[in-house]
């Protein structure tokens, strides 16, 4: 793509900084939930053997 596009009329730092931050937040939301799930499943596997109870 053209240099003009990446330059964003001289506001490249601000525009790409903002979109980069947005990308990071979207990724964090997906990955942190996934990591939380992995940790949880590990801890649940460790506590296996305790007696299940029905509520």
């Amino acid at each position: 793509m053209s240099a003009e596009f990446w330059n964003m009329g001289g506001y490249a730092l601000y525009v790409w900084g903002s979109f980069g931050a947005a990308l990071a937040v979207h990724l964090w939301n997906v990955l942190s939930a996934r990591a939380q799930r992995r940790r949880l499943l590990d801890s649940l596997a460790d506590s296996e053997g305790e007696q299940p109870v029905d509520e």
């Binding site: 596009f5 964003m8 009329g9 001289g10 506001y11 730092l13 601000y14 525009v15 900084g17 903002s18 979109f19 931050a21 947005a22 937040v25 979207h26 964090w28 939301n29 997906v30 942190s32 939930a33 996934r34 939380q36 799930r37 949880l40 499943l41 590990d42 649940l44 596997a45 506590s47 296996e48 305790e50 007696q51 299940p52 109870v53 029905d54 509520e55």
Partner: protein
Amino acid sequence: MNWTWFHRLGSPPSFYRFAGTLAPWLGGLGLAALAYAWYAGLVLAPADYQQKDAFRIIYVHVPAAAVSLSLYMLMAVAGGIALIWRMKLAECVLIATAPVGASFTALALLTGMLWGKPMWGAYWVWDARLTSELVLLFLYVGVMGLKAAFDEPRAAARACALLALVGVVNVPIVHFSVEWWNSLHQGSTVLKFGKPNISAQMAVPLYAALLATYLLAGQAILRRAQNELLSRERNTRWVRETLTELGGDPHVS
């Protein structure tokens, strides 16, 4: 009116399955909408007559700010339901919403600073809009901290619900701050009566970006609520069965 669907959805195993089905759809559609919105916003939309290319920050700033307020309302409503009806699912939604809401509030603040510097001439000013949005971030972080401070999940959820409800007064302040007081921040472009203040070529990517951000936030909340449910109900039969379904053997997962 028939409420069986509501009670069924409110039961942890059905919600867990429902969220598991819905989340990939929200994620997929959200990603597609985001790809379109960013392409249209960065490439197709013309530069603004005043702000030139810097105006494109609107495509990440406005959706993040809108979602930050909407998620707070969701969190407060879930908190109200959790306090009044003692509904476990509402507690999980409340706990799941806080980090997602905090992430979008932080994004709104950061992109606002990156927009403010080249246009206003300052990263930050203590006007009513910026200050109340910062308070919103503190409220989200407060709910997260409160959750972490308790060992017992039900007590944690009740304390979080109370804080979420108390903080709800801040939501109208954020939204109306630009109308009630003189502020450096401009008024609302999207939520305004009368003719829209943005030309169609610029508005369509903005609506797409709003949709995308809501869908992706929804995906994140569903996934986190699923985790919260699994953790809360770890000793119940349905969780054991779910784990067996997942990995054949819970030790492997």
